[in-house]
């Protein structure tokens, strides 16, 4: 997993609530067996018209948001399907963090596994960031995972909460399968007492 420490980057606003993973990456792109190259499919049906041309009205297509690495969006972001392809698409497109008033559980989990930070701020704080990102050319935020703080150069700053173990993994870019395998002895001991039912084996 990619480590996340302090990140400064451009902000793209997409102020809609309940953006589901079907919008983040539509199903026609889930047939690929690779883990890379999903960036071009991000928000595909919103970014592109029926003929595949970019829609200039969609926020991520604005030239001022080109190269953005922080997405600011509405509540319940990532709801619906468990497809990790949604996170792969955000990551491959260049996003290192998503800020929203709330996230769907499976999506937030998938982000952590890929070194993408999800930050929960209040509706009011998110609205403020959206306004600034819309108003200021080249609006940037600094996300500091050491201090758990988001700040800009115009006086905005807000703290955020993150599970301490998740923070530790992100800061150090740890492979959590490796961490679980450190408990090999306990897993084996558990399995000795709880063998697979005969029927599952047969």
């Amino acid at each position: 997993m990619k480590a996340f420490n302090v990140h400064k980057g451009k902000v793209a606003p997409l102020h809609r609530a309940n953006i589901d993973t079907d919008q983040i990456v539509p199903k026609q792109f889930l047939k690929r067996i690779e883990r890379t190259g999903f960036g071009e499919f991000l928000f595909y049906d919103w970014r592109r018209d029926q003929n595949g041309q970019l829609d200039p009205g969609f926020p991520l297509n604005h030239s001022r948001h080109k190269g953005a690495s922080i997405l600011v969006t509405g509540k319940n972001f990532g709801c619906g399907s468990s497809r990790e392809h949604a996170v792969w698409a955000l990551d491959d497109f260049g996003f290192r963090a998503v800020i929203a008033p709330s996230f769907a559980d499976i999506f937030a989990n998938n982000c952590v596994k890929n070194g993408v930070l999800t930050i929960v701020l209040s509706e009011a704080e998110v609205a403020q960031l959206v306004e600034r990102a819309t108003k200021h050319e080249d609006y940037q935020l600094t996300i500091d995972l050491q201090d758990c703080e988001v700040r800009d150069e115009h006086g905005f700053s807000a703290g955020f909460q993150v599970d301490e173990f998740t923070r530790h993994c992100l800061l150090n870019g740890l492979d959590d399968i490796g961490l679980t395998l450190q408990h090999e002895r306990e897993i084996t001991a558990y399995e000795a007492v709880h063998p697979a039912p005969v029927r599952l084996v047969s």
Partner: protein, 454 residues
């Protein structure tokens, strides 16, 4: 629980891991890259469901990328020794249909799958939840998952559902009440008389839609209905008496505390129809698409405007005046034998409207066989429905079963998101009875007023 080390999330042992073609290839690649094995192949079960065509089996898969994904699963199962119910298997079907039907799903188990509708298996009193591909790899490699304990929510449904009101309507009624993120961070326990009275199929429909309320898992305490369903299934426990004894200890204590409690009266529920682009945008069939003035905030009004435009609906339109082009009866929500019986009862002796194309996609080969044995296929065919092979089909349109832009569909699936059933497609979620009635009438109609024929 395998371990609870200081400063780390508890490590949860996974009793059953279900996999399918779409969310597993990258996980197997990860194992290969790291030189890891599947730790417990005997606790892992695979099938193909998401992108399999529902044309007669044996028809070549024309989508080369889909075919490659199916081949990847076949290859991975061979290489890592995982049991696969392949496309030509008599037991193939939607992963959340075949798990229970073959008896893999049992009370008290921890069950995961790279699919958000894994919550379905909670109907048996199992802790079952959807995971991403990285977690699929984690479970393949370790048979464990680090998991923080979720919050708990009790949803208690008093009374009985009325005639024409199904488990699907109960699920939609709950989402209407608590919202699509109402249960985020929680595991739901469904209880109360109306839940107790549901069959296992109904309980599966209810638990299936837990994720549509934001909950990763939903469960029903096992009882005699549960035991009767599991008994005699192919992978059910051999030592039945000791299994029953274990399962009887599973229900929550009468005085158990919950982080949240929601109460509903089943008698107040009607057949529901969604009008918007998330499952929370839902009203009784006898009502109308809401007016903008009914929305509380600017954000809600803006979201509703987008939905009206996408769905091609005017505020205030009567639901029964909405015509449909397509009808889909199927999906892990509503494709089991009882769902098909309910739809067939409505369809019997009627004809699908000349303006509607309607299809029935059984959840599994076993459901298909059972339905054919009862003659349900003939009822559907006589009425003008297409009778197809099993798979996820038009629930998410990864196979060739999709809506064309602007087409409107009455669907028994679980998500009405934009483009879910095909780009530009307009989905209204309903119960199997309501879908069959819409196919025949050509528009939504209250199934409580249906003229049943023999």
């Amino acid at each position: 629980m395998v371990s609870e080390a200081e400063g780390q999330p508890p490590l949860l042992y996974i009793d059953l891991h279900l996999i399918h073609e779409v969310t597993s290839p990258q996980a197997f690649d990860g194992l290969r890259t790291a030189g890891r094995k599947v730790r417990r192949p005997e606790r892992t079960v695979a099938t193909v469901d998401h992108n399999v065509p529902t044309e007669p089996r044996g028809t070549p898969i024309t989508d080369a990328i889909a075919a490659k994904q199916i081949e990847a699963l076949q290859q991975n199962c061979r290489e890592f020794g995982v049991r696969l119910f392949d496309i030509d298997s008599a037991d193939q079907g939607i992963v959340h249909v075949i798990g229970p039907e073959l008896g893999f799903t049992q009370p008290g188990m921890t069950i995961v799958c790279g699919d958000s509708h894994t919550s379905t298996h909670g109907a048996f009193g199992a802790l079952a939840f959807g995971i991403g591909t990285s977690e699929v790899e984690h479970v393949l490699a370790t048979q464990c998952l680090p998991q923080r304990k979720p919050k708990s929510m009790l949803i208690k449904v008093a009374g009985e559902l009325g005639p024409g009101v199904s488990a699907k309507d109960l699920a939609l009624g709950i989402i209407a009440k608590i919202g699509t993120d109402g249960a985020t961070g929680h595991v739901i326990e469904y209880a109360g008389q109306a839940v107790r009275s549901l069959s296992m199929e109904g309980r599966m429909t209810l638990c299936n839609m837990s994720i549509e309320a934001g909950a990763r898992a939903g469960m029903v305490a096992p009882d005699e209905t549960t035991y009767a369903y599991v008994k005699g299934r192919r992978f059910a426990p051999r030592d039945w008496d000791s299994a029953i004894e274990r399962w009887k200890a599973l229900p929550s204590d009468a005085n158990a505390g919950y982080d949240a409690v929601v109460e509903l009266d089943a008698a107040q529920l009607s057949p529901f129809v969604t009008w918007g682009t998330n499952p929370g945008m839902v009203v009784p069939v006898s009502e109308r698409v809401p007016e903008l003035s009914a929305m509380k905030t600017d954000a809600e009004r803006n979201a509703a405007r987008r939905m009206f435009e996408y769905m091609g609906l005017e505020p205030g339109k009567r639901i029964e005046h909405i015509t449909v082009d397509r009808v889909f009866i199927g999906s892990c929500t509503n494709s089991r034998i009882e769902d098909l019986r309910a739809a067939a009862k409505v369809a019997r002796g009627h004809r699908v409207s000349s303006k509607v194309r309607a299809m029935v996609v059984p959840g599994s080969q076993a459901v298909k066989r059972a339905a054919e044995k009862e003659g349900l296929d003939q009822v559907f065919r006589d009425a003008g429905f297409e009778w197809r092979e099993s798979g996820c089909s038009m629930c998410l349109g990864m196979n060739p079963d999709i809506l064309q832009p602007g087409e409107r569909c009455a669907s028994t699936s679980n998500r009405n998101f934009e483009g879910r059933q095909g780009r530009g497609g307009r989905t209204h979620l309903v119960s199997p009875m309501m879908a069959a009635a819409a196919a025949i009438a050509g528009h939504f109609i209250d199934v409580r007023n249906w003229e049943f024929r023999n």
